[in-house]
């Protein structure tokens, strides 16, 4: 790079996506949170591997609620992505975006509700044994992330409705969408570990 190229350049201000800085900050957050789940899953698997009895003690957990719940969460990610893309195409008139966002929040809330029902139907309590505390901690930590994502999406929805994102260069919607996708991706792994793995092993 030499001086001549610099002199000819004009530059965007603030920048969006990977040209800005907020997107990179969000990647760091996602990386460190993802690894937190890795360590928690390690704990779960370690306790299982060292457990003298069967793991889970009562056989693999039922899929009756968990499978539809997983589909709901996946659907929410798809709807949100649809809203975001329509938003770009609509040149920010924003109906599709608002609809997509609201629908995602409803689906996310449904996930939390169904998870609550599943918890209340469990035959064991948090403090019973190592499986029960690992199960509730792993699903609970994920649920906490879903709630955090829902709060973020709701704030973004409120700002969208208030017309705070007119113009370009706002990163908040992009970051909230990215975070929501991450929360969903984590669930797929948690789901595979808790519900599917015992069926294979």
């Amino acid at each position: 790079m030499n001086e001549a190229t610099i002199a000819r350049q004009s530059l965007p201000v603030r920048g969006t996506g990977r040209v800005g800085t907020a997107w990179w900050g969000m990647l760091c957050l996602i990386a460190t949170e993802a690894i937190l789940f890795v360590y928690l899953i390690f704990s779960y698997l370690y306790l299982g591997a060292q457990s003298p009895g069967s793991w889970p003690p009562d056989g693999p957990p039922a899929l009756r609620l968990a499978l539809p719940d997983t589909c709901i969460l996946l659907l929410s990610s798809a709807v949100l992505e649809w809203g975001k893309r329509m938003h770009r195409r609509e040149h920010r008139r924003g109906t599709a975006w608002i609809v997509g966002l609201a629908l995602t929040i409803l689906l996310g809330a449904a996930f939390v509700g169904i998870q609550g029902v599943e918890w209340s139907r469990k035959s064991f309590a948090f403090s019973d044994d190592s499986y029960s505390c690992a199960y509730f901690t792993l699903t609970g930590l994920h649920l906490l992330h879903v709630v955090a994502g829902l709060i973020a999406l709701s704030v973004v929805l409120a700002w969208s409705l208030a017309g705070r994102f007119r113009g370009q260069g706002y990163e908040q919607p992009r970051l909230a969408v990215l975070y929501w996708h991450f929360v969903d991706a984590v669930w797929l792994v948690v789901f595979a570990v808790i519900y599917l793995l015992p069926r294979i092993g």
């Binding site: 002199a7 004009s10 965007p12 603030r14 040209v19 957050l29 928690l40 704990s43 403090s127």
Partner: protein, 641 residues
Amino acid sequence: MATKAEHLPQAERAKLDRTWETAPGLFGWVGTVDHKVIGIRYLVTSFVFLLLGGIEALVIRIQLAQPDLHVLTPEQYNQLFSMHGVTMIFLYALPVLSGFSNYLWPLMLGARDMAFPRLNALSYWLFVCAGLFLYASFPFGAAPDGGWFNYVPNAARTYDPGPNIDIFALGLIFLGISTTVGSANFVVTLLRCRAPGMSVNRLPIIVWGTFTASVANLFAVPAVSLACAELWLDRNAGAHFFEVSGGGQPLLWQHLFWMFGHPWVYALVLPSMGIVSDALPTFCRRPLVGYTAVAIATVSTMIVGFGVWVHHMFATGIPVLALSYFSAASFVIAIPSAIAVFSWIATIWTGRPVFKVPFLYFSSFILMFVIGGVSGVMTASVALDWQLTDTYFVVAHLHYVLIGINLFPVLGGIHYWFPKMTGRMMDERLGKWAFWLVLIGFNLAFFPMHFTGLMGMPRRVYTYPAEMGVGGLNLTTTIGAFVLALGILLFLTNVARSLARGADAGPNPWDAPTLEWSVPSPPPPYNFGVIPLIASRHPLWEDRLEDIEDASVLERGFLLDEDRETLGVTPLDAEPDVILKMPGDTILPFALALSISLLFGGLFAKSIWLGGAGTLAVLVVLTLWFRPRAEPLQERPALYE
């Protein structure tokens, strides 16, 4: 060539000053986001913790000076050695390096601030709050007492029912937030906030070290936060992660703790090795030998460092195959370390050493590093480790590593950059006295400890019988500890004196090669009048080094004076691709740190109201933090010539 920053017209500099300077009064004091102020605060605060941890160590050494002493009760002794470890490792060793990096990074990289100035302030305030939290129960005689690695079941509710361990568990999670936030800031700063031309092959080594440590922290800190959360749940909610009666596994704690702990040890030394790699060449009057090798060694040390955690657990009954693997991996770490050592030696060997105080610290650091490294290789061998583990040999090893590789470069680094930070030189004569006291005191204290350990004295026991025959060695160690403390005291006296009446430094008193020395001392709030254009690793030595083709340009470049602005560049090649807007003074970071403190207070007191209020406050502050501001995207050229 020293006063390059002064070329900008007075009116232009005044405008930048108005834009960038911190507001006066209490608001500015609490709300500043200036990386230089935050960096110095980090340094000062971590030195306060160094003194606290040091005083604890001296009390411990009085107790151990002779056999069968009863200056301390066993309970007091447990709390003191635990808080000594927690303080030195968590509240001094990493924060002090964050201080250097916060202060130096933008100046070395050619930026006006870090990528996220508000996060920078947040990580500092969180560090202070977490430090206070960890010390909150100390005055009540209920400080953490399970050692810095806090093994279960000793730390379980059954054996330690008081608040001691809860403070440890919550405090470490709390501090982890600060570390994570700070690390993310370093990572993004390196990727995006540099001067044009400051490509990855031109970065100072301290930047490599801190970047590597920061990436590692992002991946390692969650392990200890999780372990602490699980322990807290075990103790307070009846969980069975470690509690054997319900199928829990005590060894799980050790795995999680050392998956964090070992990378963390490298996070404590890689940036300080970077300090030496950057500053030592200045006193050898030549560039560092083997820059690329040292940079690669830095990164590869950390990568291998993630695969050696079990060497802390050789005596726990792990399968032989695992022992062999982790032992071999631990031996491998010696290779990148040796590369760095040979580079430093070659730099001195082929240079023309100038025996100033920083050089004394840096060159003796190499010796301490080798001693600590060799005892490390010894303990990497499983057979020997079974004999040495839990004896004072390990204590000697870890102090050679941490004091030798962290404290020595830190003291040298403060001598080196003090003129940049304050505009004044530190006193050479006083500095030399302090150095010799530190060097002699340290070796007097810790070299005999190897023998104490070889003779079988177990660590973490409050006293020992006279028949063991280690009374003389222990007395020597105690005397050494006090000499070391005297040296530190003299060092601080030097700092205080030099602040008041040190000689005027000027921009580049050491005739050093890197970018931070091109700006006045202390640097103006905006760091650089124009963003420089970098063409080499040694922008200020270009006229005397033969192998450099392009010259760096420090007088012309992007002016960026519309508002608080700095340049964003592409991650690898550092080509400018965006103008970044920087936030001004704000109390949001301080408010967020207080809210999080409230939340942790609620967790500790198990109060729904306190915790709920904290959570609510966190959400409110975060919403304010991310609120959209009406600043449209625009394009414009901006060049000063």
